[in-house]
Amino acid sequence: MIAIESLSVSLGRFAMRDLSLTIGDGEYLVLLGPTGTGKTVLLESLLGLHRPDGGSIAIDGTDVTSLPPERRNLGYVPQDAALFPHMTVEGNLAYGLRARRMDRAETDARVADMMRLLRIGYLAGRMPHGLSAGERQRVALGRALAPKPPVCLLDEPLSALNESLRIELGRELARIQRETRATFVHICHSFDEASELADRVVLLCDGSVVQVGTVADLLDRPASEFVARFTCTRNLLPGCASPAPEGSVVALDAGPRVVSSDRAEGRVVVAIRPEHVTVADGGADGAAGVDGPNVWPGLVVSIQVRSSCVQMELDIGAPLIVHTPRSSADGLPPVGATARVSVPPSAVRLVPEVGTASGGTA
């Protein structure tokens, strides 16, 4: 277990203040956030590559804050793999074992194990120079895992790869993590990538933790407008909330009133995920408000067909993005028609306005 206690690091213009976080044994943790929010700085501080200004880091109860990198026993897969260009793949894999003065036979056995685990036996004698991006990442992972560290830290291991390779290697990461039962801490900036791998996600912004939780937590209960935006909640409409029997009613700054099951009062942002909106052909009269709250007439502005869904933009007084699965896209109204739009109040989230992280789930 890694316990980070009010860690502060400053590096040039960047500063990370008072960050606390606990990483459990055997979990796949993804550190998520836009570029320049301190994910890499946090990772490198864990590794001992930066000296923190304050706070502490403990691994399995031992304080390692003042230990140099070579005494922390953490695996590290840097962003660009950073294989030693003057050693063969085998030499790279064995580096950490030789640094620990492991005997020859055991080293060879461990290297062979790693090559089997990562399926790179065919690369053994090759130099890193001619390897493909995917092969480099595998070797870098094997090098980090060979000394059997309890925790492996991966800095954007998939971001240099193309789409299909990313999916393939992502699956491999999940498999290897299961087989080695090591704790993986994986940095990325894509929510999609995080959602494919993470047991738990830590969302960072400007050097501090914004929200910690499972992928579903982040999707269903965003703690702030920033989280909602980052998880691709496309509809974020500002308004003013007042209490109501079943939650609250929000008067949008532009558009209709929205009923939500969340309780809030004052300025809020209404967050509605595009897949939670239902669109039906409105008919000639565009019958509104018949079967309950949050049913509005909407003008269809545009329709785009995507690989996973159909995306529609509607005008209900405010712009609204709607995703409908392609399998049920047959009856959708055409551009220019008036549709009947509905959202269940339980799918309407109320979050604080702009970036403030207070009052969220944690």
Partner: protein, 252 residues
């Protein structure tokens, strides 16, 4: 284009004039003379010793420089760089002073090793002039190594010493070899500091650059040109090799 042609033309003219003045048979005559080779051998020997001493100090110091680990920070770096900026003639002058007063003088009075106006002085002067320059070259060779590789090595359990010897030095290897060659060539060509510190003494301190001076002093220009041609050949060879090495360092 015209200025470039003018400069190249000027250099070619000087080379031609010297060749024409010397003549081929004279060249061969002096090239075969034992004294030419004695001086040249002396040059090679002193330059080799100096370059070895310089690099032995410059490699660790240059590594510390590249990693900004010099105690004293920016000021210390400037001080280390001073001998590169100060003219060799002034360095020679200062050496003369240093070995003329007590702590330096003891080398001669107590240890009995004659430095000024003697062969050990040649090595001292060559080291003094090339050491700072060598540190600079070594520093740039180590700076070219991706710091991430050194960091990875540390996270894999190798300490700073093991990282230095197993990652930094092999990766900077070509650059370090090129540095050694350049330092050696520079020590071989050193003349100005020697002129002030050891002086040109026939048969004692006459490494080739000083031999050229002595040749001119006695009016034997042909011999001087022959010595120069030898220097040019060695310099061209070492610069060529150094360029090849640093090119390999860039792509390897």
């Amino acid at each position: 284009m015209v200025p470039l042609a003018a400069l190249v033309g000027f250099v070619l003219f000087i080379l031609y004039a010297n060749g024409a003045y010397l003549g081929f048979s004279e060249f061969i005559h002096y090239l075969k003379h034992w004294r030419t080779w004695r001086c040249f051998g002396l040059s090679i020997a002193t330059a080799s010793i100096s370059a070895t001493i310089s690099m032995a100090v410059a490699i660790p110091v240059g590594y510390a420089l590249a990693h900004r680990r010099i105690p004293g920070g920016r000021l210390a770096e400037v001080i280390l760089d001073l001998p590169v900026m100060v003219p060799p003639a002034a360095v020679g002058m200062f050496l003369l002073g240093v070995f003329g007063i007590p702590p330096g003088q003891w080398v001669e009075t107590v240890l009995g090793l004659k430095v000024a106006h003697a062969l050990p002085g040649v090595v001292v002067a060559q080291v003094a002039v090339t050491l700072a320059f060598g540190s600079r070259v070594v520093c740039s060779a180590f700076s070219a190594v991706d710091p991430r590789l050194e960091q990875v090595s540390r996270t894999l359990g190798a300490g700073p010493g093991a990282t230095f010897s197993r990652v930094s030095v092999p990766l900077a290897g070509h650059g370090l070899m090129a540095g050694l060659l350049i330092v050696w060539a520079r020590a071989l060509a050193e003349y100005e500091a020697l002129m002030l510190f050891v002086g040109a003494v026939q048969g004692r301190t006459d490494v080739t650059p000083l031999a050229v001076y002595l040749d001119v002093a006695v009016g034997n220009l042909e011999w001087g040109i022959t010595d120069s041609a030898l220097c040019l050949a060695v310099a061209a060879l070492s610069v060529w090799a150094a360029q090849r090495l640093s090119r390999r360092a860039r792509y390897g």
